[in-house]
């Protein structure tokens, strides 16, 4: 397993956000976490990337415990997080945003090469490379957030609702981008409220309900599950 989360619980103050969540993510897979508003999806990703600390439980990545590491160290282990709401740096240019993604890397040539390949993936970022990030459209900002995360050369990419607030045609584009990323060997954990999209992309899925793990299984099986169909697919 590339990533294992065991019995993880996170609190915000006295309020419990997730309880005893266990997940296993095999290398090369796309795993999705679906759930309603406030179910604890973002909290789970935040625990993985070190933004939230565990109250109990453990996380190991590549066989190494990472649950005590600060967020800025976890990136160095190979986990990049595209946070909810994109969180690009508004007053940095597009190119500067991308380069911050490579902050910990020392291989200058590799960084330049990855910047070029990022511009190949996202031609619109190239056109706007000198523009301030805040002047871009929502879809472009989402692509920038993804590009920035890829600049860290991660083994595992955490994506928190990349389709949020985007037009259907852009959502399609994001879906294709996720497939491309995965085809390059990067493991993906995808959090989505758009369960149709997520179950279509993923091989395995977890369903969170009010902080608890309610269901898990291969994505196609969950897609046919009556409860999932009624609660998340609206059929």
């Amino acid at each position: 397993m590339l990533l294992e989360m065991k019995d993880a619980s996170v609190n915000y103050g006295k309020v419990s956000a997730i309880r005893n969540i266990s997940m296993s993510v095999p290398e090369g897979s796309v795993v999705t976490i679906i759930g309603a508003n406030g179910a604890g999806k973002s909290t789970t990703l935040r625990a993985l990337s070190g933004l939230a600390s565990l109250r109990s439980g453990e996380i190991s990545f590549n066989g190494k415990r990472i649950d005590k590491l600060a967020a800025h160290r976890i990136v160095g282990e190979g986990i990049a997080h595209v946070p909810e709401g994109r969180r690009i740096f508004p007053d940095l240019t597009v190119e500067e945003n991308l380069r911050t993604g490579a902050f910990l890397r020392k291989d200058k040539k590799g960084i330049e090469a990855d910047l070029e390949s990022c511009f190949d993936h996202f031609p619109r970022l190239k056109e706007r490379r000198r523009q301030l990030a805040k002047t871009m459209s929502g879809g472009e900002q989402q692509m920038l957030a993804i590009g920035r995360a890829l600049m860290a050369k991660p083994k595992l990419l955490l994506m928190d609702e990349p389709s949020m607030g985007l037009a259907p045609i852009i959502v399609e584009e994001i879906a294709r981008i996720i497939e491309t990323i995965n085809a390059q060997g990067i493991t993906v954990i995808l959090v989505e409220q758009n369960a149709e999209l997520a179950l279509g992309l993923a091989t395995y899925a977890y369903v969170l309900e009010t902080g608890n793990l309610a269901l898990e299984g291969p994505a196609d099986e969950l897609h046919d599950n009556d409860h999932v169909r009624a609660a998340y697919l609206g059929v």
């Binding site: 990337s49 070190g50 933004l51 600060a70 967020a71 800025h72 160290r73 990136v75 160095g76 990049a80 997080h81 946070p83 969180r87 690009i88 740096f89 508004p90 007053d91 940095l92 500067e96 380069r99 911050t100 993604g101 902050f103 910990l104 920035r148 995360a149 860290a152």
Partner: protein, 289 residues
């Protein structure tokens, strides 16, 4: 009249120079750490005492005394980051209160060490550049102007052209997203605090020969610097520089043609007008204010 205007403009340029150095540091610290450093005027004061000790008393070179001021006050800034602001990171009000406490400690230490008398620092040079019979610029004032231009340009280049500069701006804009890129907030806070404190120290050191150095000298500087960063838009470095120039022009002209108290009132009124017309300041965005 034209000569008086020209002379006053030169005086304003001088005032704008040291005020920019102080205000930009204050903005940098606020931007990266989200804390208002009330002790910033006392860092300015420490820089001035550095010149009293190393230049006036120990008779070392003036520029050496300034370099020591930069490094020593920068280190005091690092100490403040570690001891005050880091433990209080999630508590901006706590950081502000701690800095007020520290301001008093620094004033008391200065008074214990040097007494409350005014220290007079011998002039670095008596040279004066004369543009005409009535328009002069004393060379020590020129040093302040040059230092401000050089240091602010260097800071600008650091922020725009280097990787740590991006990191600093990124963590000022979104500390959590910056952490996700591997940027340590402790590290960017240290850099911001060292630079911000060092700039205040240099400003105090450079102006020491032209003012009376005393434990309370930070007060008037910090008031002006606060007006400047509010007018410029809290969080905007460019805004701080522009507002420092604007404020110094207004303040110096009013002082020259009316008097200093009216100049203070005009300065404060200007701040109020800006706050009413554009609450985020001239260059500010609503993000962090």
């Amino acid at each position: 009249m034209g000569e008086l205007l020209a002379q006053t403009a030169l005086n304003a340029l001088y005032a704008a120079s040291y005020l920019s150095l102080v205000a930009v540091g204050l903005v940098l610290i606020f931007g990266v750490m989200g804390v208002i450093n009330f002790a910033h005027g006392e860092l300015f004061m420490l820089g001035a005492y550095g010149v009293v000790v190393f230049y006036a008393d120990l008779q070392l070179s003036f520029f050496f005394a300034i370099a020591i001021g930069l490094v020593f006050v920068g280190l005091v800034g690092l100490g403040m980051e570690r001891a005050l602001f880091r433990p209080l990171r999630d508590n901006p009000l706590g950081g502000l209160v701690a800095s007020i406490g520290f301001l008093m400690v620094l004033q008391a230490l200065a008074a214990m060490g040097f007494g409350v008398r005014m220290e007079h620092v011998p002039p670095v040079t008596q040279q004066v550049i004369s543009f005409s019979d009535k328009v002069h610029l004393a060379v020590p004032r020129l040093y302040v102007i040059i230092a401000a231009v050089v240091l602010l340009t260097a800071l600008w280049a650091f922020l725009k052209k280097t990787q740590f500069g991006w990191a600093l701006r990124a963590s000022a804009q979104d500390p959590e997203a910056a952490a996700l890129q591997g940027i340590s907030i402790n590290q960017t806070s240290r850099i911001a605090m060292f630079i911000g404190a060092g700039l205040a120290g240099v400003a105090g050191a450079l102006t020491a020969p032209m003012v009376s150095v005393n434990p309370h000298m930070g007060h008037s500087v910090i008031v002006a610097a606060f007006i400047v960063i509010i007018v410029g838009g809290v969080g905007s470095l460019e805004g701080a520089v522009v507002a420092a120039v604007a404020y110094s022009l207004v303040h110096t002209f009013v002082t020259t043609f009316y008097d200093g108290v009216i100049a203070d009132i005009v300065g404060l009124s200007l701040m109020l007008v800006v706050l009413i017309v554009k609450p985020t300041g001239l260059f500010g965005t609503a993000d962090r204010a």
